[in-house]
Amino acid sequence: MELNANAFGRNARKALLDKTLQEALGRTTGRFVAHRDAAAAAYPEFEATRERASRIKRDTLDHLDTYLARFIGEAEKRGTIVHVARDAAQAREIAARIARDEGVTLAVKSKSMASEEVSFNEALQGAGVTIIESDLGEFIIQLAGEAPSHIIAPAVHKTREEISRLFERHLGEPRTDSIPELVGMARKHLRAKFLSAGMGVSGGNFLVADTGSVVLVTNEGNGRMGTVLPRVHLAVVGIEKVIPRMADLPTFLRLLPRSASGQAISSYVSIVTGTRRAGDPEGPERMHILLLDCGRSAILEGKYREILKCIRCAACLNVCPVYQSVGGHAYGWVYSGPIGAVLTPLLVGLPEAAALPDASTLCGACADVCPVKIPLPDFLLELRSDAREQGLKTPGEIAAMKGYAGVMKRAGLLEAIERIAGVLGQFFTKGKGITGLPYPFSGWTERRDFPAPAAQPFRKRWKIRRGVTR
């Protein structure tokens, strides 16, 4: 996906003025948050399960070399072909090669955020493959020729009228304002594709090391379709998605649907292991897994390792007041919200995304809901410090900080400045608030007042009270 993270400020302002988007965002995130909270409250072991999941993931990451090697060995034993891509270019090359080698002309895809990182669809199209997104929201966006901009609900900004018009134009379907009818149209159309596609492409929610299995968690059923019916199945998955044992899976299944949308379980969980066995009436003859590094091994090495625990539930997005205000597109890449603000700079490089770690008040709501206990606010703080170290801060900010620290070094100097400011402030504002602050603080006073400095700072009052004279 094209990267545009440093335009966050401009895109955020645009998003704030987009009434349709604002309404949709409010409705969607409000619903997800309410459902998630209810689901967590209704499950007495929720907190214990979070702790368990966090520890399993940490153990896995601390020994990822062992677990990933085990996964590959087990997968290959059962007929799976495992590929490794170091970066996006390699991933695209491998994807195109697989499609050509397997003689695929039509592929049906269920959601994979990792594949968005490497512009997977374009790679396949370049190899002569028609690739159709089958997640309903992604399908709609694909027809509209738009980029998916939201992890949780790609078509969140589209009204049913707009969708009906798209279906009329691209699918030849009659206009309707019934949502069930629209869903039925997509179902019918995509069913035909599933039945004739040569390859099903999926992501992977979990990779089970002990058995070489790929786990897909969906509600629509399109993931299942793509992994049972076509001759070839290709799963595109980040290397960090490994969990050690099949017995660990229920722990994550207890957290993922609840955290994402407040469901105790999603409609479908598919655990797929290898190719069609002798005697199987259906199933892929060929199974490929494309493992993506794409910056993950570098993260593993450093202080941000725990970000790789993420199970892509989007709970942090839903609860983040900044995400709720501006939506996903403003973050300018695949991942948005708190996870995006940390992961994007780590995967694409901080200079390309330095605006993102600043897009937070550090309120901590995300850390409260993360099912695997990633310390997101700590990582945002760390990235802001990295930005300073890497010379990404404006000279103005650095000078202001140095000046501020310089004043704070001496209480006497601070007091002198406070007293002068107090006198001037009271004189100019006559006890009322300040309605216009100078740059760079002018943003505050666009819609808010700011108090004038007090005529007498507290430290002066205290001295008077103590009878200290100067």
């Binding site: 900044v322 205000s325 309605t435 007090a454 700072p457």
Partner: protein
């Protein structure tokens, strides 16, 4: 007056006041109110005047070099024993949680930071958890709602203490707002870096406040109150932002600095309006 078992009932309770640079300069009434409340419950309050700033704005914006400079000075400004009490949840959280990060590569300063961190409290937390106060003995009156500032609630885990104190004041009609723990949009430098997003969040907070019908919104963080109060003042909503310390101390009025900026309806009960510069 109640005492915890930890204290010597006969002796004074030594407290150093950490009055915060923001309150010092813009809302000194908050500092005075904090002293008044502490002294009411048996504290002997010292005010080390060499203190300036805990370094939070520099730390939060990633400028750790400057933050460390201010933090070292902070650590030197306070005595080696006794409690340190501050009317700011975010400043207490900065010392407790931010300092160990700042000094993770400096073992000696780290040790001192940890030792200081163990003795630092936000005001309501100190009153309830350490002094065992159940009734603040305040004559404040009015309908009050409470905003859970992020660092006080999530950083320090202080949720019930302010509510217990507010509910115990006879003249206070306490009402919970919806989304009391939702961020108000201040976030320090965020409010200036992304003011439009910040304002949107503040507007939502003010909507929730107005929905309660309260005359006052209070919190344990001045930054939040200046943010919320700044929007209220600009539009002229019939509600005043007042710091928790000032409610606990008693009396009437809004934040000293906005005192003269009356809303269209005079919702203040009769009483003195505290003006900056005098007590």
């Amino acid at each position: 007056m109640t005492y915890t078992t930890r204290m010597d009932p006969k002796g004074p309770i030594p407290v150093s006041l950490f009055f915060t640079c923001l309150a010092d300069a813009f809302s000194p009434g908050v500092c005075s109110a904090t002293v008044e409340v502490l002294e009411r419950f048996g504290a002997t309050v010292r005010v080390p005047l060499s203190q300036t700033c805990c370094g939070q704005p520099a730390f939060n914006s990633g400028n750790r070099k400057e933050a460390r400079a201010m933090s070292r000075k902070f650590l030197l400004s306070f005595p080696d024993d006794g409690y340190i009490v501050t009317p700011s949840g975010s400043c207490a959280a900065m010392v407790k949680h931010g300092y160990p990060v700042l000094f993770r590569d400096e073992p000696r300063t780290l040790a001192r930071a940890r030792a200081v961190g163990e003795r630092i409290y936000e005001l309501s937390q100190f009153l309830v958890d350490v002094l065992g106060v159940t009734d603040p003995k305040s004559d404040f009156s009015g309908k009050v709602t409470y905003h859970d500032s992020c660092h006080l609630r999530r950083g320090l885990g202080v949720v019930e203490a302010p509510r217990k104190l507010l509910r115990a004041i006879p003249g206070v009609e306490f009402v919970e707002m919806e989304e009391s723990d939702r961020c108000c949009g201040f976030g320090g430098v965020f409010s200036v870096k992304y003011p439009q997003i910040s304002c949107k969040m503040t507007e939502r907070k003010v909507e929730r406040i107005l929905a309660t019908g309260a005359s006052y919104v209070t919190a344990g963080d001045l930054g939040c109150l200046l943010n919320i109060g700044g929007l209220i003042s600009r539009i002229g909503y019939p509600v005043k932002a007042i710091h928790l310390a000032e409610i606990l101390a008693g009396g009437t009025g809004g934040l000293s600095s906005f005192a003269a900026d009356a809303a269209s309806e005079d919702t203040r009960p009769p009483g003195t309006v505290r003006r900056a510069g005098g007590r």
